[in-house]
Structures are given as C-alpha cells and as structure tokens.
Symmetry: D5
Subunit: 146 residues, 10 copies
C-alpha cells in the first residue's frame, strides 16, 4: 500500500460521504491546509492523527502506517500550468525579491522557513467580489557565520 493508494481511498471516501476538507480537518483536529496536504501524501501524519484519519474516513488499518511515512516531495512541473497554481508561481516571480528585501530589512540576513511553516486560507467578503486570503507563517532563520 503506497501513499498514492491511500490518497485514492481518501478521495473516494470523501466523495461517498460528501464531507468537505474543512469537515475532515475538524474531525481530526487539524487545519484544512495541513490535512489536505497530508492526505495528498505531501506531509507525514503523527500517529494519533493518522489513526483519526483512518477512523474518520473508514480506511483499512494499514493506511495509518502509510500516512505516517515520511514522503519524498516531488512535483513534476518546474513551472506549473494549472492557472490557479500558476498565479502563485507568478506572485513568487513578481514579488519574490520584494519579500526577500522586506524580510531581511526587518530580521537581518536569512529566510522564512518552509519547514517550520504553517498556512491558512480563508474567504473575505468584499462588495466588489469576495477575496481569497492566504496567510503564511514561517520561522525566521538567520544565516550563520563561523
């Protein structure tokens, strides 16, 4: 049983039950972003969350072990084509140097961690058309000198 297999099972159970990611996330007591990412095999679940997932989605017991495995994160398109994902890539292209400069002006030379990291996605009502809000938070890591 591979992570791909478990992803398939989760998607299939999700279709059957009609749950949304928000529902699943709430039932296992985690955020929707992290829950979806782990379900897609892009993050590993701690034991208790993997077992909760198995129970919530009615998966076979072995799936709990697979959800705990540490994934090798692979994406095949260096430049993504899906318009919704491409827009994020475009934001990195256009605003990447700006983000770098403002982080480093505030914190010193270093980066925002993509490992000690979390993210939320929410809807913001707006009379001119509702907006998507993405909030990312990562630990600042400063360069070492030695």
């Amino acid at each position: 049983m591979t992570k791909e297999d478990v992803t398939e099972m989760i998607l299939s159970a999700k279709r059957t039950t009609g749950m949304k990611w928000e529902d699943i996330a709430e039932k296992i007591g985690m955020s929707p972003v992290w829950t979806h990412s782990a379900a897609m095999g892009m993050n590993a679940m701690p034991k208790d969350k993997a077992e909760a997932m198995v129970s919530v989605m009615g998966l076979p017991q072995e799936a709990a072990l697979v959800l705990q495995e540490y994934p090798t994160k692979i994406w095949e398109q260096a430049v993504p084509t899906d318009p919704c994902v491409y827009r994020l890539y475009e934001i990195v292209g256009v605003y990447g140097p700006t983000i770098k400069t403002l982080i480093q002006e505030e914190f010193g030379d270093g980066i925002m961690s993509a490992i000690d990291f979390d993210m939320q996605i929410t809807r913001v009502a707006n009379p001119k058309g509702d907006r998507v809000k993405i909030e990312m938070s990562g630990k600042f890591l400063g360069y070492n000198s030695w």
Copy 2:
C-alpha cells in the same frame, strides 16, 4: 532614463538617507510591499505616488514619468536560486495543489487573482523564534461558461 536607472537612483538615495522601505512607504502613503515592488520596476505608480516618490527621495523630475510607465515583468530564473526566494517557490510546489483545492471547494472553479492582489509582510514575536507572516489577498475569479 529607464526603470533600471530610476531603481538605481532610489537605492542610492535610500543608502544615503538611511531610510528603510517602511519609512519610504509611509512617506508616500502606500504599503512597503507595493512601494518596494514599484521602486524595483515591477509595478507602475499612479501619478501622485510617483511625484511623492520623486520628492521623498530627491529624484530628478523625469523619474516621475518613468515610475508611471507600465512595466514588462520579467524574471530570468524559472526556478529561483536565492534561498529566501526559493523557499517561496518550494511552498508553491508543495502546497500549490492544496491551495487550489481549498480555494475551489470554497468558491467554485476559479482562481485567486494575482492582479487584483495585495500583500503584507509582518514580524510575529514568538518565544521559539520570531516568525515571518505573509498575508496575500486576491480577488476570486470564477471561470466563465459560454
């Protein structure tokens, strides 16, 4: 006088005056992210902001016209190498499909606009090490059927 020339002048005046981007942004009444991006030539300034910029930074008058020109946005590295920018690219690779799914589950088929878009970067104090917070907000655009 090109956008590159004006960027050079702004950076040079910034060094001389010791202002931070936050200071410059405040003086022209805009956010630091947008101010830096426009100063780098990745966004065009409305007339009043361009003139404020010229006055705040002591630029020649012609610079106000250049700051109002609509840029051609070019980045040369399809995959960025600078670690601070690469981490953002990595976030798109790892979490892109998750962001897409959660946006579309909430809003229907469509995207978060990267045009009708804004962003803030802030420091969040944390006992385990301060964190960088990036908040993006873009208008949801739904696919048309016709």
Copy 3:
C-alpha cells in the same frame, strides 16, 4: 471514472452518432468552443449542462458528476509541436508585446483575463481562400496599488 474516461466516451459516442461539435454544443445550449473544452476535461460543467451532455451523448449517469469536477489544467509541451497549435504559440511570441501595449494604452496597466474569458471560431468566406476567425474576449483586470 476519471475525466479521461468521460472524454473517451464522448468521443466514441460522437463517432457513432456522427454529430459535429457544433451539433453537440447546440443541443446543450452552449458554444462549440466551451463544449469541446469541457468535453476534453479542460473546463468544468455546471450541473444542468453536465446532465444535458449525459443525455445528448447517452453517457452513464456517473459521467455527469465527473463533468462537474474542477479540472487541474495540464499541458505537457511548453512549446507545442502540432502545427495548428504551434501557429497560435507563434502569434503569442510575435504579437504578445503588441497586444500588451495596445491593451494597456487603452485600459491602463493590467491584463485581459484568461478566466473571465470566452472565445468563438468562425469561417469567413474569402475569394483568395476562406479564413479562420478567432474572437477572444476577456475582462480587463487592472493592477491594484495598496
């Protein structure tokens, strides 16, 4: 049942019935461009159109659900090789900067949306050889300053 499966079924029913895309489009009350694109799995169908498609093409009921799923739009050739598609790519290469300049001279800094977008393709009779006419229409989206 995947979108690829449903595409296969539609193409097979189309071959059997001898309908053209124009006929199918008319029967579901949509344009040929959008109809074909959704049948290929590059657009999602609203519920009523998906059900009309199922009924017109004699597809199994489950296909209506699949046609409503939001696709991940992927194309594998960054530069297309098929001559008919390549010519469009070439037009973007040759005229892209011109289109950008004329849009922005008219509307201000921004883009033509590829999401709030529609297109028609028609034949124009011409004594020197008939011509293909492609009409694209997309909402203008202006860049934000903040």
Copy 4:
C-alpha cells in the same frame, strides 16, 4: 542603424509628441496592431508606409530603409513571464487543442496561417467591467497529399 535603433527613435518621438499608437496608425493609414508590431521590428514595412512613418515621427531618412528590412523574429522566453503576455500563452495551452479541432472539423486537416494573418484589439463596454476583444483572422491552409 539597426531595427533596435529605429524602435528607440520611434518610442522617443512618441513620448515627445504624446501620440498614441492609434494616432500613429491612423496617420500612416494602417491598423494599430500592425503599426506597433512593425515599429517594434517584428514586421517589415512596405516602402510607402516606411516613408510615412519617417515623416509622421520625424525620423532620419535612413530609418525608412531599416523599416523595410525583413526582420528575424526572435523571442527569448519560451514561456513568457509578463502576466499580460502569459495569459495569452495560457489560452493557447488550455484552448489550443479545442481551436485545432474546431478549425479542422470545419475546414478539413490544416491550419490557420500565422503569416497571411491580421488582428484587431478593441474595448467592449460591459457593466460588469469592460472587456478586451481580440480578433484574429488567418487564411486556412490545407495539408497537401502527393
């Protein structure tokens, strides 16, 4: 004197005179799309149009010869990064196979020429936000058998 030099001169004269592309195009009796493209060095001008251009923009006489030279059309980004141009690339990626199918269903196996080709760009007023309209027209060319 190269095509790049002449492009520079035209842009500079345009800035000085405040003419829009539409104005220049009208004065030389051609469309704005073609006029801009030829001014950018992506198309060659017939003798009378080159001379009109020189006269309208106040260019040196040698520029008329340069405008008549046949350009080598080069674009350096296989996938364009500027958002306004990228959206066109995206349209080719998403709708390319659809355009091919509908052209060939109507005309038989062949392509829309990108050489015997013309294009118009116009603004279409719309209460939900004005729209950009791009109309392309190219001669159908059928494949040979021999």
Copy 5:
C-alpha cells in the same frame, strides 16, 4: 483502434509481404514520402487513399476510418538524437538563416509553407559514393500588412 494500432498493422503486413515503401506507395498511387508519413500517423489520408491502403495491406475495414482522422503531430525530442535525423536538424541550424535570406531576397518577406508542401527522396549515383537527394517544395506565403 488508434493511429498507433494501424501503424503497427501496416508495419506487420509490410514485413510479411516484403513490400518496400516504394511498392506500397505505387500501389496506392501516391509518393513514398507521403505514404510513409501517413502510415506513421503524421498525415491524414483522403478517403480513397485510405481505402486503397486497407486493400493493399489487408487491413481491417475500421483502419480506413482511422487513416482519415486528422492527427495531432507530436515529436518528443526537441533536438533529435538519431544520427540520421540529427543531421537534418544540424542542416537547419547551420543553413537556416541562409535559406531564410535567399527565400526572402527572391520572394519578399515571408516563408516557405510546411503545410502546402511536398518532398521527394532519391538516390543519385556518384563515383565517389552515391548521394541522397532530398527535394522539398512549399508554397511561398508572404506576410500580410493591414
């Protein structure tokens, strides 16, 4: 039944019968280049030729329909590795600008069509070693101004 299937059947029948491409071409009344290309699925056959092919090679009747379908022309190697094909690529690299210049000096700005196109390949006896002769002929297409 796909074009790949029909290609397989033709190659298999060719092996069994011992016919050369020249023989097959002659029997269906077309040139060897076009016959091979259509058999490989890189060109569509008109109805009569498709039926002749089916009869000559002893293919099932459905193959005649498949041979008439309009192919999507795909090649996977942007730079071919097979030495015999690479040499052609090399000729385009070395002589491409020369061919362009001489065509345009003779005809004006434009191209040789690769659609309204034909080709012959013949052996030319030569005491220093026989030579391959490739003759290409394509309609000249002149750029439009509008």
Copy 6:
C-alpha cells in the same frame, strides 16, 4: 578582425552596391547558398574564393585570411523562433522519421552526410502561387561494423 567583423563589412558593402547574393555568388563563381553561408561565417572559404570575395566586395586584405578560418558553428536557439526557419525545423520534426526510413530502405543503415553536402534554392512558378524549391544532396555514409 573576427568573422563577425567581416560579415558586417560584407553586409555593408552589399547594401552600398545593391548586389544580390546571387550576383555576389556568380562573381566569385560559387552557389548563392554556400556564398551566403560562408559570408555569415558558417563555412570557411578556400583561398581563391576568399580573395575573390575581398576583391568583389572591396574588403581589406586581412578579411581574406579571416574568411579562410575554420568556423565554430554555433546556433543559440535549440528550437528556432523565426517563422521562416521554424518551418524547416517543423519539417524535420514531422518528416524526420520518414526521411530516415526511406534513405535506409534504399541505401542500408546509415545517414545522409551534412558535411559532404550541398543545397540549392530556387523559385518554381505555379499558377496557385509560386513555390520555393530546396534541393539538398549529401553523400550516403553507411555504418561500420568491426
């Protein structure tokens, strides 16, 4: 003095004298294709032809030495963008496997040389539009076994 310098001088003299490549080729007693290619620095001239070129075009004596140097043949675009050159690339993509098969069916396993090679380009009058004819001839080279 580099090959690029000599190319510049030849093009400049050509503009001044109004000679066509055909004229220049005839004066040095070579074909237009080879003459242009050598003038562009993609082939080396034998001593007598280099001296004829210098005399015909009124070049400085040192140019004759430069024209005799063996060039390093470089092209920067793996896939050419100029439409006139791209069509040739497309022909290699579409017909490359066909050319390979027909050469090898006639001659045995091997290639058409791109070194012991020559080419002619001519206009062929045609009531439906004149055609470009390209004739290539290269020595067949058979693979060795040892």
Copy 7:
C-alpha cells in the same frame, strides 16, 4: 519481437552461460565494442553476424531478423548521470574544442565521422594503477564548397 526483447534474451543467456562480451564477440568474429552495441540495439547486424549471434546465444530464429533491423538511436539524458558515462561527457566538454582544432589543423575544415567509425577498449597495466585505454577511429570528412 522488438530489439528490447532480443536485448533481454541476450542478457539472460549471457548470465546463464557465464560468457563475457569478449567471448561472445570472439565467437561471432567481431569486436567486443560493436558486439555489445549491436546487442543493446544501437547498431544493426549484417545477416551472417545476426545468425551467428542467434546460434551462439541460443536465441529463437526470429531474433536474427530483429538484430538486422536498422535501429532508431535514442538516448534520454542529454547530460548523462551515470558517473562512468558522465566522465566521457565531461571529456567532450573540456577537450571538445581542442580535438576540433587539432583535427582541423591536420586535415582541413571537417570532422571525424561518427558513422564510418570504430572503437577499442583495452586495459593497460600501470604500476600506479591500471589504466583504461579507449581508441576511436573515424574517417575524416571534409566540408564541401559548391
């Protein structure tokens, strides 16, 4: 039966019999380099050698026909990753311009053929560590002028 199938059979028979490539080569009266290359499907065998191979390795009779087919030579990694193959690529990168210069200083403008070509690999004893010796020999081919 494809070339891949025959390669599989040869490798399997080689494992069973414990023969080395040198042994196989000797038994069919050819060099080890060519024998291995043809067994891998990168060269075609003349009839007698193909039949010898079938007999030596105990292959089915059809394999002799397959070994005579002319291969399409494909390698998938433009830059090889296997260290033993990469070192050869590196030698071409470092010494390619040197090899070119020395060949052309000795022979005139032209190349070493990779078609009319042969190679030997031998061990050379050396007190500081034995050495691999690779000897390549290819016919010189001079550029044509015409």
Copy 8:
C-alpha cells in the same frame, strides 16, 4: 590579465609566427592536446611549462602566472552545436553504455578517470580516406565500500 587575455595573446602570436600547435607543443616539451587545452585556459600549466610558453610565444611575463592559475572549467552548450564537437557527443550517447559495460566487465565497478587522464590525436593513412585516431587513457578508479 585573465586567462581569456592570455589565450588571445597566444592565438595572435601563433598567427604571426605561423607555428602549428604541434610546433608549440614540441617547443615546450608537451603533447599537442594538453598544450592547446592549457592555452585555451582549460588546464593549468606547471611553472616551467608556463615559462616556456611565455618564452616561445613572446608573451609578457605576467602571462606565466596566469597560465599557472587553476581554471574553472565551463562550457555553455549542454549539447554542443559545432558538428566536429557534436560527433563526439553523439559517440558518448551511442556508445556510452557500451564503454561502461566493457570497462566494468574488465575492471570491476568503477570509472575511467577524466582527471588522471591523457589523450593523443593522430592521422592514420587509409586508401579509402585518411582517418582520425583519438586515443584516450585514464586511470581506472574503483568504487569504495565502507
């Protein structure tokens, strides 16, 4: 003074004196391959050879220091376009796996060093056309287990 500068000086002195690489190599007591490579800046010269080079070619004294510097070896074309260099690349593509197999069958798992390496290039007379002979020799390096 850079390695590029010294290469320029050597080439210029070589042109003036009419020496061949073989002559230069003999005068400094090294092989032509190594001498050319070091002159091109792709290898570093030991002190005595650098001083011999300076004396033989009449270079300024500083050049001896530059010739001793350790180069960063860079080639810009992952796939070389010059036909003479490409043929070597093609040999690596076609025969790379064969060379690997035969080396490893003889020596065990490992590689031929490209560092402890030497090469000779010679002409071999042949009635069917003289041949280029390239002899490479590199120390075998076996993989470690630990």
Copy 9:
C-alpha cells in the same frame, strides 16, 4: 529479478522486522550510508556483503547476484524538489566555488573523488537544537599534464 525488485524486498523485510538502517548495516558489517545506497541499487555489493544481506533480510538466493551487479546510476531530477535533498543541492550551488578553491589551494589543481569516496551521517547534540553532521571523504585526484 531487477535491482528495483530487490530494493522492494529489502524495504518490505525492513518494515516487517522493524530494523533500522543502522541495525542492518551493523549486521552486514558496513556503514549505514553505504548499506542504504547499495540497498537502493546505487552501489554494487561485494559477494560476501550481498550474501550477508540476503541472510539478514531473508531474501531469496537470486537477490545476492542482483546486489552484486554494477548499477547504472540515474537520477531524474536535474534539480531535486524534495526539500531535504534540495538543501544539499543548494549547498553545492552556494559553496561549490568555495570548496573548489580551498581544495585546490591546499592540494593543487584537481578534485575530490566521488568514486574513491565515503560518507558518515551523525547526530550532534546541541542545546539550541540538535544538528546533522555529514562527513565526506574522497581521495584527492590531481590533473595530469602530458
């Protein structure tokens, strides 16, 4: 039975037995790095180690032969995407020129071998967060002159 098959078997046995790589390595008397690498098919095992592996993991006897085969080392991502592997790639990008300079200042022109090479990975306790220590050791190989 391929190397992939054996890797599968080892991973499966490892899961069942709950051994860590350190345990397996100790049982076969080798280091964890080399043991894992060979188990993944990226290194060949000497006979005694292959047999120990078979015995420790309860593999079928044929696996011992497969573990001794010399692998072709292939990695498919020129730039790795997995964050843990990418960080190593980033270190090569940032510190590669530094490593080169310091090695060559100490040893002379040459390289650290990646063949006569070994590596250890250990945990280093640290009050600010434990650290990963990677120790690489490779034989220095100096460039030859000849």
Copy 10:
C-alpha cells in the same frame, strides 16, 4: 561599488600579498570556508568582520559597507560543469535519497538546514593518496503540523 567590485579587490590584494585563504580567515578570526564565501559575495559579513577584512586586505572604507550587504545568491548553471564542483553535484544525485533517509530515520521528518549551517574542509593524510575531508553541520528542522 558592488559586491563584484569588492571581490575583485580582495582577489587582487590576495595575489599581491601572497596570503592564502587560511591566512586571511585567521586574521579576521573566522573559518576559511565562510571567509571565502563572504569574499565571493555569497554571504554577508557582520560589521566587525567586514572592518577586519578591509583592514587586513587594505580595501577602501566603502568596501566594509558592501561586505555587510545581504547578497542575492545566484548560480547560473543548474548542473555545474567544473569537474571539482560537478563531483559534489554527483554526490547529491547518488547519495541524496540516502542522506534524506538516514537523517529522517534518526530525527523524524524534516531537513538539515542550509542556513543555520557550517562547513570545514581539511586534508587527511593517507598512504594511498591524501584525502579531502568535508564536514557539514546544519541544524535539524522538523516539519510542522498545524
């Protein structure tokens, strides 16, 4: 004054004084790896180290400011060609998955930081040939769940 300018000055002063990187590093009280990297513009120096560098190397005062600027880390070759740097890239290709597995087996899912990172390079005497030792140490960063 850019980072490139300061690098030039440091290299020039180093040549004049004959200091080795080890000497420079010792004088500013840092390691050779970090000192070289910062001198190359790939790391920023804290104020005191920048001033020490200026004093040790006799640089103009402005250089101290430049050495403190936060660099944008760019490398242009996705796959490095210099053999000494390539070997490091190869090690990442061959051993990357092994390093990942062993880190994660020891620490849990996460990475070795390339930011909170240090490295030493030393010579290890060895009777079979001295060895290069590279020691890397980076803080372990565990993935977050949220």
